[in-house]
Amino acid sequence: MQALRYFAIVAFSASAAASPQDFLTELRGQAQQEAGFRDFEADRGHQFFHRRHGDWSCSSCHTEDPRQPGKHAVTGKAIEPLAPAVNPARFQDGHKVAKWFRRNCKDVLGRECSPREKGDVLAYLLSLTP
């Protein structure tokens, strides 16, 4: 029984653990279903990240430079930097990535982001160096 539980935990962790490149690959597979998609573009992600989609943009909390620590626009809570180059803990956990994209896109855009939009933003974040 103990062994079974251990196996279950390991299997679960393995399915949740990933790297930013794994997410990019997964998102690319989904985005290819969208008409006219060629590949993700860091420039497009940069524009999307900084554009106001209503009251807010991604940078409202993550700041204009995602290599810097951010601050929640409403509560003032500190936010760790988003760019993997300066914060290797980012884009490692599938559950976290799915949760925060879902929540934050709904807050900023009033809807979920498309795979292309997510991939563009991730490509932009990965293009940043320390």
Binding site: T75, R102, R103, D107
Partner: protein, 150 residues
Amino acid sequence: MRYRSLPFLLALTLTAPVLASGSDHRSPPLDPGYVAECGSCHLPYPPRLLGAESWQALLGQLDRHFQADAGIEAAALEPIRGYLLANARRRPTGPAGAPVLRISETDWFRHEHDEISPARWSRVRSRSDCGACHTGADRGRYSEHEIKLP
């Protein structure tokens, strides 16, 4: 006064620093799972600040949580619900046991803060920003000994 046993002295020695640090029954440590989930966006407010009916109402609409989407998966939510309800405030927080969604609108909050002047409040970003005065708020500590007025 004579202490007859070494165990008694030892017990006194071990508990005294704990009592002095303020970790009494009114400020138990916050649940790490709760802090990780809810504390990633805002101060992890201790369960005792709201009644069970209020926590239930809040958790029932997390996808519309004060104009933000704070929805989480059911599997992650249930342990948090259990923690909040088990440690919720027992005394009423609002009229006739109705849920109060904002801690700052509870009867006890108004009473505890009724001596704070509007001028003082104007120096605080929001009434939800407990840490502006309560220096131990991020650890769930609200003792009168840990207040620094702005």
